[in-house]
């Protein structure tokens, strides 16, 4: 018997969690002597008031869609992929290598080539933790955390010692050649007669991210593999009894997860920086955790949550610019969202379930 209607589970629980997180964040702003109302006004104006703000919001959202989907796919198989950060870093390496060393004639080829390489590298980085979890029983959370640090060390070594152009001062690759530069939303919307900010970094990767949402929805709910992933996530022993090879499905779902996390490189590495820098991921891998929890592991929820976090990131940057509130406020909000939607889920859910049960008892 379901304890409460589905709409309450899908909409009400996340909404209440979000309100709790928002209320606590407002208290934090009050405590450091600023006005929450003014802060929200600056954030909304900064993120949605201009096409430039929109451009940044959507740019951040694009990255978060990829990492959020990555965490969500792994969650469906009951695995917690905390290594999106490392997989995205290595995915960036893949995209950078292809852009630097393959002479692409046109940006469409570069997009597909870069996307493929980024996904391949991301999946490869997820493979070892996945294999160790499935075959040797080592905990995926610990190994993916370790692989985040190893990825940072690998990238640091390659950027400082190998890929840095001669005479370059900062640890970064050379600028990618002209044909690999992806069109921004400005370039794409101009033929339609829409004036979009030229300086904003949102680019064609947004479309790839939306396609990835559709792909994940089809995969999880419309394919045999998706069924096996969900079965494994619900009950490992049940899945094995149904003839599903648990290690195989676990490894495949982690490979897809790693590929999605790696795939975000087309946005930040190819679309924005147009070269590989040290800290290109900027924590997007971790934000994916909050996005997946918030979006209830559903691609549409992930999309909405990613736009919400895109708004928080762009709004937070504006806040740091115009007030004395540092952008770390966003990290606090992110922590509260993870706390309430993930860890303290039962705190919101239990009273609601009791409420709905008592409502149902009085009905007939």
């Amino acid at each position: 018997m379901q304890k409460m209607p589905q709409w309450a589970d899908v909409i009400l629980v996340p909404l209440i969690s979000l309100i709790l997180a928002g209320a606590l964040s407002a208290l934090v702003i009050l405590a450091i002597g600023e006005s929450p109302y003014e802060a929200v006004k600056i954030m909304v104006q900064g993120a949605f008031g201009t096409t430039n703000g929109w451009g940044y919001t959507l740019y951040y959202a694009t990255s978060f869609i990829f990492t959020g989907l990555a965490v969500a796919v792994a969650f469906h198989a009951a695995m917690f992929n905390i290594g999106g950060e490392g997989q995205a870093m290595i995915g960036g390496l893949g995209a950078a290598l292809v852009c630097l060393f393959v002479p692409f004639p046109h940006w469409t080829f570069a997009l597909l080539g870069g996307f493929g390489a980024a996904m391949l590298f991301g999946a490869a980085w997820a493979f070892i933790p996945a294999y160790l979890q499935a075959k040797r029983g080592s905990h995926i959370v610990i190994t993916t955390i370790m692989f985040n640090f190893i990825a940072a060390a690998v990238l640091n070594y390659l950027l400082v010692n190998v890929l840095r152009p001669t005479g370059g001062m900062d640890p970064a690759t050379a600028k990618f050649p002209e044909p690999t530069h992806l069109p921004t939303l400005h370039d794409m919307l101009l033929p339609l007669g829409i004036q979009f900010s030229k300086s904003a970094p949102a680019n064609v990767s947004l479309i790839m991210a939306l396609l990835a949402c559709v792909f994940v929805w089809l995969l999880i709910w419309r394919t045999r593999l998706g069924y096996e992933i969900r079965a494994l996530g619900h009950s490992e022993s049940g899945a094995i009894y149904a003839g599903i090879s648990a290690p195989k499905v676990a490894i495949i779902s982690m490979l897809i997860s790693g590929a999605l996390a790696g795939g975000m490189a087309i946005n930040n590495v190819m679309g924005e920086a147009e070269r590989l820098v040290m800290n290109s991921v900027e924590g997007a891998g971790f934000i994916g955790i909050a996005v997946a929890l918030m979006g209830r592991n559903h691609p549409f929820g992930v999309l909405l949550a990613a736009i919400l976090f895109g708004f928080l990131y762009q709004g937070g940057a504006e806040l740091a610019l115009w007030t004395s509130i540092p952008s770390e406020l966003i990290v606090v909000i992110q922590a509260l969202v993870i706390l309430f939607t993930g860890a303290l889920d039962n705190m919101v859910r239990m009273p609601l379930e009791r409420l709905f049960l008592s409502l149902r008892r009085t009905e007939p």
Binding site: I32, I82, I145, Y157, E328, L339, N346, M350
Partner: protein, 335 residues
């Protein structure tokens, strides 16, 4: 590398291993009771900030220490609330705590001190002093001889060099951390509380049947974890360095987590593992690149080595690390 350089590396090994050791033992208590704790990093960071802030405002390092422990225990209580009371996902709770600490420390530091997310430098009584053990060469001897301490130690005999450079001249938290190892071992393996704590991590239903409160034991374990993380954080900000800077825990909580697995959740092994990881940090800090048998080893490899070693151990190719059986599972009492 001469003898004195070796001693200096060992000296900084002990200084760098101390926060790892305290945090590793903190994680040991928590995980042995069946509560996974990824939030070690965040607790350490919060403790580092509040100890530095309190020590700066009161001028007393001991009050700072208390504030650090209190901050760390508050986060521990949150972790306990989420993972014990509300049976939430312990890993997600830990992740949230890390972000909470990382954001809040900078936010509050900026609001209180307006120095870009750090505390002012601590001086005098706001820091832990280095203790000169009896018969060791210390700053007093150096002053009497009119020479810098390093010169004075260089002139001494090898035994005195080891004693003065490595063993003496550490802060009190270093000696306390080392004492924690036998104390933890005794508490876990020689007391009734320790037996129950270990049992709660392996088979909570059995403990419950015996009439002992699973929730109570787990909360106690999480509280001890909070105290030890608090000590580690206070050590970072008031002994190892003079004040708080943003993200000063710098992944030490995760290295401690790695050390805990490396040590197979045992106290004496934890000492070995943290000393090894401390040595790696000390070597990476001192030398930019090292040649081993003619092959240059990049410093990034030294940074990554603790994590690589942990993955190898986890893979079970070199001995097997078996975590507490009930780890990560919320306990639901049967009705």
């Amino acid at each position: 590398m001469d003898f004195l350089t070796l001693l200096q590396v060992l000296d900084s090994t002990i200084r760098l291993a101390t926060p790892l050791l305290l945090t590793c033992l903190a994680g040991l208590f928590s995980e042995r009771a069946g509560i996974f704790d990824i939030g070690l990093e965040g607790k350490m960071l919060a403790a580092a900030f509040f100890s530095a802030a309190m020590a700066f405002m009161t001028g007393s390092v001991w009050l700072g220490l208390l504030a650090g422990i209190a901050a760390s225990m508050a986060l521990s209580a949150l972790h306990g609330l989420a993972s014990i009371t509300f049976r939430g996902n312990q890993l997600i709770s830990g992740v949230a705590i890390n972000f909470l600490a990382s954001g809040l420390t900078v936010l509050i530091a900026q609001a209180w001190f307006h120095q870009g997310g750090r505390t002012p430098s601590l001086i005098g009584g706001a820091r832990f002093e280095q203790i000169t053990l009896p018969f060791a060469l210390g700053p007093m001897d150096a002053e009497a001889a009119g020479l810098p301490l390093s010169k004075l130690i260089a002139q001494a005999g090898p035994l005195q060099q080891i004693y003065s450079e490595v063993i003496s001249g550490q802060t009190i938290l270093v000696y306390f951390a080392l004492l924690c190892v036998p104390a933890t071992s005794w508490l876990l393996y020689r007391t009734r509380f320790g037996l129950r704590l270990r049992a709660v991590g392996e088979n909570p239903a059995a403990v419950d049947t015996a009439g002992v409160s699973v929730v109570g034991i787990r909360f106690a374990a999480v509280a001890i974890c909070g105290v030890l993380c608090g000590l580690a954080g206070a050590y970072l900000a008031t002994a190892l360095q003079a004040g708080f800077v943003r993200e000063m825990s710098a992944g030490r909580g995760y290295i401690a987590l790695a050390a805990l697995i490396f040590a197979k959740w045992r106290p004496w092994y934890a000492l070995g593992a943290t000393l090894l990881f401390g040595l790696l940090q000390a070597v990476a800090l001192r030398f930019q690149s090292i040649d081993i048998a003619g092959i240059p080893v990049p410093v990034q490899f030294m940074d990554a080595l603790p994590y690589i070693l942990t993955v190898v151990i986890l893979a079970g190719f070199v001995g097997k690390a078996i975590p507490p059986r009930a780890g990560g599972e919320p306990y639901v009492k049967e009705r």
